[in-house]
Symmetry: C2
Subunit: 451 residues, 2 copies
């Protein structure tokens, strides 16, 4: 089965024994699993110039479809490295998904390497050629030899159409294993996975039913949470598995179940999920896998209310996470990012005197920002941030990481200060999450609840 | 040597031969390289709940220090998988850097697995214990058994202090290979790498000098760029390597050189970089590895000017990328995100009539937004966006992906419309980059140039 029981360390007297028990659980698992490996190809991954976001997305999709991602590996644009990786991963997995190295430039060598690896020779694929021509004609760009080469494929693969780009995907089968090569460009890969690869893989295998339920907590550390649920966790059945996923002030708890009988599994999972919910009520902000911006959106829709933000130190990041939620325009009016003090005065009506006597990073300022933006944008609620994110700008009184946050409506406003101790990017993310959580608290005080 | 020559496909008549030549270059390389593998551990990576940002950062740091990252692999929290990965990677690399699985919860098993793998037994490390106690005392939180266990380490490792968290790092040596285990929490790992791991690794090896030079282009596709520089690229010396790094309308070109004589290498690299620059002048926006927001910042500082933004469809994302640049407060005043039409009227002074007759997504609206926010925030320049990002909201006239952008100062404003054809997140990133590039064009028209 996909999942294995997590052994609580409380139950284990000897430090090195934990994995032995886990190991035994592991050995039970493989009968039902269809193992998948992801091989990402590109020197840019090894030089660190790009962050691999493809693998996480692919993992989620594979998981939803009943597959188990066993390993992920990244290698450079080199025949030897690619060949080793394919040899190795085919020992671990039944399906090897390959991304990257299909571009039109000289550093992209995946296609000729696969051509040789699977013993084929290159031919022009008419469908892929028509696709390349159609894309260039739509873009109104001249087509060059280099682009036409995109339509070449090994003659022993099944061509996977690319509805979003010029490089076709390739599906190979060898010694009972399936190898699929896709472009590294995220939206092209996603289109192929969704339209072709997942549905075709599902036809090949008898898959277990895999299901997840996730809840989200805010304001409690991973280890304290683990303590609070230790007894329940240690009694989880072996085919249900718990994962802790901490992220900027929040911890997500996900139970994953695996089995052949969908109804029985769902019943059992729902029962355990109910028990878990009851244990973490105090910190629970959602009983589904959504972001805190989505939590706020659902609450505001329920309360038929709207919100605006006034951001100084978060610099538009709160607005960005909110507006990344499709449909947020029905409850979010906008933000004023007042990076300059005169903007706080002129656009947000913060009093000059407050800025002079208390400073921009002060309780009084954020409370005035809340009222200012709420009136300006005529919303029910508003939330505001002001702080020092680093690396420069700290003082003895207000060191880097000091943030004031306020949230409120026409009747009441709450405010608090925080000290985040990370780098600039993480301080901004932390402040954004704490600001949204403070807004959530105001909404709860007004009787608007999600749970 | 680290780098290898990129063979231009133009020079190769046979489709499958390219990698054979590359392969020969590969075989020259390994004498000087110190190969490193990164092993990231955690079921969350295989289920896709988190995106691995650590590996890219580590790769950059390793590269700067003269190491070559050969492979990256992710495996689950399982003894068998971890052990296989360590066995395998030690065949490929002299240094194996391991992150993750050191947390206090039951699913974290890396430490006991390493304890057994290297044949040690667990002991309390006094330094790590004092660190755990000090952290909890600063947080004013009670300490529990689970936290104290963080101070346990195998007795055959060198303990790496963790200045930012409770889990100590571990440095093992076995059969001439170095294995380093670090927490998966990014800022904890980064602290350890910078303060301990990189400096200690540098003492172990005689390293080649590795150096990079990067330039940034905007508005030309990867394949056209490749065509424009094909002759130059095919004549690059074997120890200089070119990489294409496309990203949302931009392509970065990076030359990496490797050698023993720093001065000679630098001279040679600078010479080739100069030639490359001359070939791509038309599309060049920076001759160093900086973001387009940093380009704008440098230009504004040079022109002693400031900017504000007015964002509709980009929803604060432009403000976020700008304010992620440390020091941006000296040239950036803020943004108004006007997600609602009434905010466009009330805060940005867009005429009601314009919104009614032309619509929010129109040339007239974005030009009024530019003027409105520029006056409101009293800046030299402003840039504005309005569009339909999807997945909903498109019409026949204005399909999803339609974006109007304007940028200008008191004297002149330019504007253009775009059709992005991706998902919501990517459309937002594309629009932000094109908006910043339009601002760059206005600055250039005013005689402010970076290059």
């Amino acid at each position: 089965m996909f999942g294995m029981r997590q052994i609580s360390s409380a139950a284990l007297p000897l430090p090195c024994i934990k994995f032995r028990i886990k190991q035994m659980a592991d050995s039970l698992d493989h009968s039902l699993k269809v193992n998948v490996s992801i091989v990402t190809i590109g020197d840019e991954l090894l030089i660190g110039q790009v962050i691999d976001t493809n693998s996480a997305w692919m993992a989620q999709e594979l998981n939803k479809a009943g597959f188990w991602l066993r390993r992920r590996i990244s290698v450079g644009d080199s025949k030897q490295e690619i060949t080793h990786a394919l040899d190795e991963e085919s020992r671990y997995a039944s399906v090897i998904l390959i991304t990257g190295g299909l571009g039109p430039t000289a550093d992209d060598i995946t296609k000729p390497v696969l051509c040789e690896y699977f013993g084929g020779s290159m031919v022009i694929d008419e469908g892929a050629l028509a696709n390349v021509k159609s894309i260039f004609s739509k873009l109104n760009r001249p087509i060059i030899e280099r682009n036409l080469k995109q339509a070449e494929v090994p003659d022993n693969c099944t061509v996977i159409p690319n509805s979003r780009g010029t490089a076709p995907g390739m599906w190979f089968e060898k010694d009972g294993k399936i190898f699929v090569s896709m472009p590294g460009v995220p939206h092209e890969m996603k289109g192929m996975m969704t339209d072709f690869v997942i549905p075709h893989l599902q036809q090949f295998f008898t898959l277990p039913f895999i299901t997840h339920r996730t809840l989200v907590t805010f304001g409690i550390g991973e280890s304290f949470l683990a303590e609070a649920i230790a007894d329940w966790e240690s009694r989880l059945p072996v085919h249900l598995k718990l994962a802790y996923l901490p992220h900027y002030g929040m911890v997500r708890l996900r139970i994953t179940g695996s089995g052949d009988n969908k109804r029985l599994l769902d019943d059992e999972l729902n029962q355990e999920f109910g028990k878990l919910k009851a244990l973490v009520t105090e910190w629970l902000i959602a009983d589904e896998d959504i972001s805190i911006a989505q939590v706020i959106g659902k609450m505001l829709l329920r309360g038929n209310a709207t919100v605006a933000t006034a951001e100084s130190c978060t610099g538009g990041y709160i607005a960005h996470v909110i507006t990344s939620v499709p449909g947020s325009s029905s409850w979010y009016k906008g933000t004023v990012v007042s990076y300059a003090n005169e903007v706080k005065q002129r656009v947000l009506d913060v009093q000059k005197e407050t800025l002079q006597t208390k400073g921009a990073v002060s309780e009084e300022t954020v409370r005035q920002m809340v009222n200012g933006v709420r009136k300006k944008m005529q919303t029910t609620y508003a939330v505001a941030t002001s702080g020092i994110m680093g690396p420069e700008g700290g003082t003895t009184d207000k060191p880097v990481g000091t943030v004031w946050i306020a949230a409120g409506n026409a009747k009441h406003t709450i405010s608090a200060n925080f000290h985040f101790r990370y780098d600039r990017a993480r301080n901004i993310e932390m402040a954004a999450n704490y600001a949204l959580n403070m807004l959530r608290q105001v909404l709860m005080e007004d009787g608007i609840s999600l749970l």
